[in-house]
Amino acid sequence: MTTLWATILVASVASYGLKLAGVSLPESLISHPRVQRIAGLLPIAMLSALVVSDLFDSNRQYAASGPTVAGVAAGALALWRGRSLVAVFLIAILVTASLRAIT
């Protein structure tokens, strides 16, 4: 079995395990206030890190694609204007693809 397959299978089974733990573990364990607070903040940290890493981290060096950054910035503007997730997604890829086509 290749490393890629192993990574995919472990990630898949462990992700399911995390969901199963949520509906199976005693509520008192999961509902501890401090645990809840960290759990609420964790996606914020991970998603923020993923956005900037996707845009600027090219494995040990800083690199950015102008059209991609502009597309995601257009998506951010759409979010600020209260657009839906689907609209944000479409605006980001359309702006990126258009800028890339004309440059």
Binding site: L4, A6, T7, I8, A11, S12, V13, A14, S15, L18, K19, L20, A21, G22, V23, S24, E27, I30, S31, P33, R34, Q36, I38, A39, G40, L41, L42, P43, I44, A45, M46, L47, S48, A49, L50, V52, S53, D54, F56, D57, N59, R60, Q61, Y62, T68, V72, G75, A76, L79, L85, V86, V88, F89, I91, A92, I93, V95, T96, S98, R100
Partner: protein
């Protein structure tokens, strides 16, 4: 709201979510094959892992040349939120025995949001299953289609490299209102960017988790001023 109207409203909302799951599934399939996964690997991920943000994170880090362990850790740290969604869902659905295993698979952002938005227990359960099953079917169909098409196209020409960061940003946006939300986001950005040249791809993202843990351990304003709650 009458039973029929309530029923229709839930299925209309589930159909809308299904449509968007299909579009994101297509994107995931294309991005995954562009990152080096085979069609079958992309499909297995969507069927078994079935948690979109973690899937995008995993293939994104692998595609950027990150180590498998880094990609795995980031995906699971992100997937940990599903554990916490399980508490209100278990209270609502009250699954017993084998039902617990099938309920767990559908505990994700969209099903939790839809189930919790319903006025009654019966509507909440119906919304949970309707959203979960529709989303699962279309997410997987989309992934298969995207993986088949994606292996033959230049995904960056279609702007698909902007898809994952745009989706992450859209998921992040409403959460910034949480206590310490903006500070944690800013801290995570600083930690991630300052580690870029020091460690391999993926590791800066995992390091950002420390910001959330640190902020979560700080005394909360709510516990200091209970009268504000």
């Amino acid at each position: 709201m009458s039973f029929v109207n309530e029923h229709q409203a839930i299925f209309r909302a589930a159909a809308g979510i299904g449509l968007y799951a299909g579009a994101f599934g297509l994107t995931f399939g294309a991005v995954a094959t562009a990152a080096g996964l085979s069609v079958i690997q992309a499909v297995v991920m969507s069927a078994v892992m079935f948690t979109g943000a973690s899937q995008f994170a995993l293939v994104g880090i692998l595609g950027a040349g990150g180590a498998p362990l880094a990609a795995l850790s980031a995906a699971l740290l992100l997937g940990l939120r599903n554990t916490f969604y399980g508490v209100p869902i278990a209270r609502l659905v009250r699954p017993r025995g084998l039902r617990r295993a099938s309920t767990a698979h559908f505990v994700i952002d969209e099903t939790t949001a839809m189930a919790m938005a319903q006025p009654t227990v019966r509507a909440g359960r119906r919304a949970f299953w309707a959203t979960g099953i529709t989303l699962f079917a279309l997410w997987n169909l989309g992934t298969l289609g995207g993986a088949l098409i994606g292996s033959g196209i230049n995904t960056s020409a279609f702007g698909l490299d902007a898809a994952a960061p745009a989706i992450f940003l859209a998921l992040l946006w409403p959460q910034l209102a949480r206590e310490h939300g903006r500070a944690v986001a800013l801290g995570a950005v600083i930690v991630t960017l300052s580690l870029v040249t020091a460690v391999p791809a993926g590791v800066p993202i995992i390091a950002a988790a420390a910001v959330a843990i640190f902020a979560g351990l700080l005394p909360s304003a709510a516990s200091r001023r209970p009268e504000d709650e």
